[in-house]
Amino acid sequence: MSATDLLTALYFGDILQYDSKDPHKPGRDRFLLSKGHASALLYCTLAEAGYFPEEDLADYRKINSKLFLSGHPHPKTPGVEIASGSLGQGLSVAHGIALGIRNEFPSARVYVVMGDGELQEGQVWEAAMSAAKFKSTNLIAIVDNNKVAQDNLTKDLKDIEPLEDKWRAFGWETLRIDGHDMSQIMDALQKPVGKEKPRVIIADTIKGKGVSFMEGQTAWHGVAPNDEKLEAALKELA
């Protein structure tokens, strides 16, 4: 839920250029959810964007799911570019796509959302060095910095800060925003890309945003609410 405002801006704020009726359209902008455990958010967003009917969401995590709505995304689902679920791979894959399309479709962009805990994976920093080396300005990384991982607060698990300094040192242009302030999100996403450096948007977010008893709570990382909690949550979100 921490990344809901970010995906809303990307898909419904005229940032991502896509055709949900032609998911593989050449020259489309690409979106990758590297933190695959937020699959529910991605599937809901894709349904809302018209990739598939909302009724199909009932198949989520169920066997024989028609659209392969697995617990973590897979490209069999319309609108999904790559499988995820093992953290740390998405930035590299997004960069590969960026390298692959940059000559043919110079205006197309590749966006990838990573979690803050995910930045503990070394591969993220390998990819960060690669994108800087190849001056991949068509690659835009977004860190959903909700500060909570499965076991612990991210800072207690293994601190990833100072994030801006780190990304800057790796050769990236760095923006830091409030990931729930829509005008800040839109400003960051609409800012024209530079000529030299890939861009990272560090979005400070709140885990479980909008539901008072979930906000910032480690305990809700991968747990579904029971009927009573669900009703309470929906009431708050309404």
Partner: protein, 310 residues
Amino acid sequence: MVDGATRDGYGAGLVELGTSNPNVVVLDSGVSDSTRSKKFGDKFPDRFFNMGISEGDMVCTAAGLAQAGKIPFATSFACFLLGRSMDQTLVSVAYSNTNVKLVGTHSGLAVGEDGPSAQMIVDIAYTRAIPNMTVIQPADWEEARQATIALANYKGPAYMRLGRSNVKGIYDPKTYKFEIGKASVIKQGSDAVVFATGSMVEETMKALEQLGTEMNVTVVNVSTLKPLDEATIIDQVGKNKIVITAEDHNRIGGLGDAVCEVLMNHQICKPFKRIAVNDTFAETGSASELYEKYGLSANHIVRALREVKA
């Protein structure tokens, strides 16, 4: 026949692809001179990505390039390529079913003096066990060149296992036609069949010279390890009295196990012996010394043929 290392055949194949297929791109992780991917990089610098010493990043970048419509060959030493990117190979390549060609050079004990950390002996087992993966190990320069081109024309994830050392040419470039999924009968006999792969095909040919007219041995080059050419294996086992497999790889999960599985599935029982690394890490030394000490040399193949016959 062209003598040379399979990695050199790969380099030559890549250069051909550079001209014939504009979608082919090549990645390396900082060892392109040794893997021969540099041959491509020198001629087609815009389609060559040296990712530095970061194999996991390289494999996932290749997956991204594939999802952008390219045909990426991601190259490194076999030990690092798969050792450092098992998870990336599973998720971003095989499970995502991306059109990535992983190419690992310097495989097996044949890499020699660099020692066990560089001697990749579990890659066939690992890649064969991954759904969606095709696994290839060419036996000479020409087969490596053709396999490289065949892989570019094949859609789907694949691993190609190559060697560092020169091997004697087996195939005539004018007549040989490599096909993914087809084993090739190099010599037809009737007493025994040796199913060999990679550098062990040359070792088997040396064994035949030693045997002279003592035994009439069939030699089959199993260059596609997955999918296995079951028809040829069953046919040749039927035509011969004893069965030997030969690979520069651990005996668990390699060619020997694969052939056993075929025979068991078809309830075929014949005298059988595996030539392979005996589930141990080796040591430093020259390739030929290691082959002798760890049971892979022509002498061991000769001994196996005589023992099983008796």
